[in-house]
């Protein structure tokens, strides 16, 4: 029997779950996907209105619509899949001095907060997008890399997002990319439309820590009334991430910790997309049978060609 995985990137987690290999991160009961169906894994963050995570939910508590068609959730996991975090720091002219020190502290604490199987990768970008440290748990290594960062040059923000999304990702780990940037792009070859399409076809969750007033907008030049939302907002919404404001008064360490905790306290739902065309873009709508629940999930995914 041949399984069909039309969108490998998004469903790599599901692949790992479904496989019976000894190295896979397997929930207690591996789901059995049917031939010809699209196996989907989707991260779902559920919080109450005061922002506290709602835990203890079961499969029956979720309703998942794929292109408007209700799906059966065959498996659910919570906090079990190891996490790979990519921290991408904007080191153009705007990030220097004391701010760099605060970032170092925040990323260092973030690393110490990681679980035993979690890892962190550091990417620095201005015009160039450079991975200074591959996935590691070595706090000193990352600290040293940030310490040696030299700020300057233009900003290839869009290109950095695209590269971070496309970078090879372990199929049995959840992927979170945290950008610290003012999102002011000056030299990218990627357009906002392109990176949204890339985000639809990859599986990482994008979260942005940006100054309170972000200047760059998607699909246009000016943040005038009625103009499209800024690029970070579009990407965060698309991938189930968030945009957190940043100012001189912000406790960056607390902000990074919150990002990690939010991502960690996320359910991963697995379902076979049935009753829908396997190709094209699939919208995902997730609801929870709790009156006070606020649900955050990626908006959808790209099906097979």
């Amino acid at each position: 029997m041949r399984r069909v995985w039309p969108v490998v990137g998004l469903f790599a987690v599901a692949l790992a779950v479904a496989s019976s290999g000894p190295r896979a991160q397997e929930p207690q009961r591996a789901p059995a996907f049917r031939s010809g169906a699209t196996a989907v894994a989707v991260d779902v963050n559920v919080r109450d209105r005061s922002g506290r995570p709602i835990t203890g939910l079961d499969v029956a508590d979720f309703e998942v619509l794929d292109n408007g068609v209700r799906q059966d959730v065959v498996q659910l996991s919570y906090g079990k899949v190891p996490i790979d975090i990519t921290v991408a720091l904007d080191v153009s002219y705007s990030v220097v001095g004391h701010l760099l020190d605060r970032l170092r502290d925040a990323v260092g604490q973030l690393m110490r907060d990681l679980g035993s199987e979690d890892r962190l990768k550091l990417v620095l970008f201005n015009m160039r997008v450079t991975r200074t440290t591959d996935f590691t748990t070595d706090v000193k290594l990352v600290d040293q890399a940030i310490r040696s960062a030299v700020a300057g040059g233009g900003t290839a923000f869009h290109d950095a997002v695209s590269v971070a999304l496309v970078s090879a990702a372990a199929p049995d780990r959840r992927q979170l990319v945290v950008f610290f940037t003012d999102a002011r792009d000056s030299v990218s070859t990627s357009t906002p439309e392109m990176i949204v399409k890339v985000a639809e076809r990859t599986r990482a969750t994008l979260t942005f820590v940006t100054p309170a007033a972000v200047g760059t907008t998607a699909f246009g030049a000016r943040a005038a009334a009625g103009s499209p939302p800024p690029v970070p907002n579009v990407l965060a919404r698309e991938t189930g991430g968030s945009v957190l404001p940043f100012s001189d008064a912000t406790n960056l360490t607390a902000t990074f910790r919150r990002i990690l905790n939010d991502f960690r306290s996320t359910y991963v739902l697995y379902y076979n997309a049935r009753g829908v065309d396997q190709t094209g873009y699939h919208t995902i709508d997730v609801k929870v049978s709790r009156s006070n629940a606020v649900v955050t999930a990626r908006r959808g995914y790209q099906g097979g060609q």
Binding site: V123, V129, G154, V163, S190, V198
Partner: protein, 669 residues
């Protein structure tokens, strides 16, 4: 003075020599300003240790010159003992029956207890273990607490690496260092060779004894059986790193157990320190203490001879020979020599001249031809406005060379043009404007003036301030109407108005869309440059990109295709053309053609990030994730210093600025 200190420090570290005035405890007083050499010597008469010898009983030569032994001490100096135990995998053991950690630890602890009995209260012991990696089980500690609780074992043998770690231990001046290593005589994974260990031993201030257990060396098949586990479908564990061969044995097979080349090297290593290589003949695992008890007692009952070298050159290798002339039957063991490393005097670093800060300093540096200093000084200028003002007030620093002043004026203006301060920028434009008049030849336009304008225009394009640049473009064209680069400059500066949004006279409406007059102006300007052969290709590429940004992809493709009719000799233009064609095809939903164009761009500039990312995006859309991931990886790890042509696209012809300035300087001489 520094050289002397360095030499003495080296001497102490390598051979146990103290500089005068820094004597070890309980030592006699030494003369000032001399070096003292201390040599450990053991003397045996057959199986008996010879004791009670005095200074006059020894004959010692240093590089062949007889020396006067000033004092003899026996057994008073505390010992630092480094024990090396080999707990790597035993090739003889049957596959599937690894020794338990408890067994290995039990064996080691038993030997440690025996060793402890030989030590004195002042002695200390350090334990290293040979396995996959060098293990320091514990650093030096007193003999009352010698016990192992955890040890990695049954892995590959990093013997040479571990011995190096043992020998490289610095020795405290008031102590003696003894290294006793027990090994299976096989190295399978070290990163260094036996020769390296030998070189280290020769220089080390340690007595080095090596004992080899021959028990495991005879069965090649057993070794392969150990390394290649049938439970892993015959997969073998890696047995080498880098260039290191499969395995390096010191002893040949039974019953002769001849020393193999590595064994000879290691034997010489031990003997160069006064120690030795020992082959056990016991069938089982030999005991450290049983093997070395006698050697250890020799050492305990040995002598430490002190002398001040006389009649020999101080630096370099000193061969030592020690004898007891009264009895030719005695066996005297001592290290073979010592070396005094001659450290070459460290040259003082070249003085880094301060960057010139004032206009006087800058003019002075310029007069001396210190181009780099001038450039650094101008780029680090904290107050470019003041610099420009001072330059103007001071008058021509080279009255006989007005062209030189005009060239220098561009450099001074550059500091202001890229300043974030509007005042500095205004002054820079004013300075250039003044010199535009000054460089004007009264009779006819000539070469210097033409290059002067070209340098200024490339600089202004680089600053991307279209409105401020336009008057300079018009003045240049007024003087040189047929100059293609000036015509292209007009088009580029006009085009830049769109990019320079938010500025006065911006060419876009409230929604960010270029106005119709602006579009027409840009098209006309580029068309004029297209008509001039020198700038045809670049103008077409730029017009194509302009049309693409307007959403007129078909028209863009016409221009970009035409730009290829006569390929530009400028690689950056050829790269941009292919990159832009890729983007246009992408916008026309022809991802396959876009991919081909991006690949073409990468043949011109293989490491350019823009084409890599563009290709990566296109491949993701086509579902070709493997190559896309490879490109993402290539982007992130690229360390080439090259500049992606796309990064400077909006700076127009700024890429020519350095060459234009060089030409101007030549013309102003």
């Amino acid at each position: 003075m520094s050289r002397r200190v360095a030499a003495i420090v080296t001497l102490v570290a390598l051979t146990g020599v103290w500089p005068a005035g820094q004597a070890p405890p309980q030592s006699p007083q030494f003369r000032a300003a001399t070096d003292v050499v201390m040599v450990d010597v053991s003397v045996r008469d057959g199986g008996r240790t010879v004791t009670g010898l005095r200074a006059e009983d020894f004959a010692l030569t240093d590089n062949g010159v007889r020396q006067r032994i000033e004092s003899v001490e026996a057994g008073a100096v505390p010992i630092d003992l480094t024990l090396v135990v080999d707990v790597s995998g035993n090739p003889r053991r049957p596959v599937g029956r690894p020794p338990s950690e408890a067994d290995v630890i039990g064996d080691v602890n038993r030997e440690l207890r025996l060793v402890a009995e030989l030590l004195r209260p002042d002695d200390r012991v350090r334990l290293l273990a040979v396995d996959d990696t060098v293990q320091q089980v514990w650093s030096f500690r007193d003999a009352s607490s010698l016990a192992v609780t955890r040890i990695d074992h049954d892995g590959q043998a990093s013997l040479y690496d571990t011995l190096a770690a043992a020998l490289l231990q610095p020795v405290e001046p008031a102590r003696r260092h003894v290294v006793i290593a027990r090994t299976k005589g096989v190295d399978t994974i070290s990163s260094i060779t036996s020769g390296t260990v030998q070189a280290m031993a020769r220089q080390a201030d340690a007595l080095f004894h090596l004992v080899m257990m021959e028990t495991a060396f005879d069965n090649e098949a057993a070794l392969a059986g150990y390394q290649c586990n049938p439970n892993l479908m015959g997969l073998c564990w890696p047995t080498r790193r880098f260039w290191v061969p499969f395995q390096r044995r010191m002893l040949g097979p039974a019953p002769a157990h001849q020393l193999l080349p590595d064994g000879v090297t290691m034997a010489e290593a031990a003997e160069s320190t006064g120690g030795a290589l020992h082959k056990t003949t016991v069938g089982g695992v030999p005991s450290l203490t049983s093997t070395f008890r006698r050697t250890f007692e020799d050492f305990r009952n040995g002598y430490m001879l002190r002398y001040t070298p006389q009649g020999v050159a101080r630096d370099g290798w000193h061969a030592i020979d020690v004898r007891v002339p009264a009895s030719r039957n005695y066996t005297v063991r001592a290290r073979r020599g010592y070396g005094i490393e001659v450290l070459p005097p460290v040259p003082a670093p070249a003085a880094i001249p301060d960057a010139p800060r004032t206009i006087t300093e800058l003019v002075d540096a310029h007069s001396r031809g210190a181009r780099q200093q001038v450039m650094v000084g101008l780029r680090q200028a904290s107050d470019p406005a003041r610099l420009i003002r001072d330059f103007e007030e001071a008058g021509n620093p080279w009255p006989a060379a007005p062209r030189r002043e005009a060239t220098f004026a561009i450099e001074v203006a550059e500091a202001g043009l890229f300043s974030p301060r509007p005042t500095a920028r205004r002054q820079a434009y004013a300075l250039l404007e003044r010199f535009t008049r000054l460089v004007r030849h009264p009779l006819e336009a000539e070469t210097f003036e033409r290059y002067w304008h070209f340098a200024v225009l490339t600089l202004l394009e680089g600053a991307i301030r279209a409105v401020d640049a336009e008057p300079f473009v018009e003045r240049a064209i007024a003087r040189f109407p047929a100059e293609p680069r000036f015509v292209l400059s007009r088009a580029i500066v006009t085009d830049q108005r769109w990019a320079a949004r938010g500025m006065r006279n911006a060419a876009v409406d409230a929604s960010g869309t270029p106005t119709a007059p602006h579009v027409e102006a840009v098209r006309l300007a580029y068309s004029a440059a297209i008509a001039l052969p020198e700038t045809t290709a670049e103008a077409r590429v730029r017009l194509g990109w302009f049309l693409h940004r307007l959403g007129r992809h078909d028209e863009a493709m016409v221009e970009l295709s035409a730009a290829g009719a006569e390929p530009s000799p400028d690689a950056s233009i050829r790269y941009l053309r292919s990159l832009f064609i890729g983007h246009v095809w992408y916008s026309l939903d022809r991802t396959d053609l876009a991919v081909a164009a991006f690949r073409e761009a990468l043949t011109v500039a293989p490491a350019a990030q823009s084409a890599r990312v563009a290709l990566m995006n296109a491949l993701v859309l086509r579902g070709e994730s493997a190559e896309a991931e490879a490109l993402a990886e290539a982007v992130q790890i690229d360390a080439s210093p090259g500049i992606d042509p796309w990064w400077t696209y909006w700076q127009g012809q700024y890429r020519f600025y350095p060459a234009a300035m060089t030409r101007l300087q030549e013309l102003s001489r």
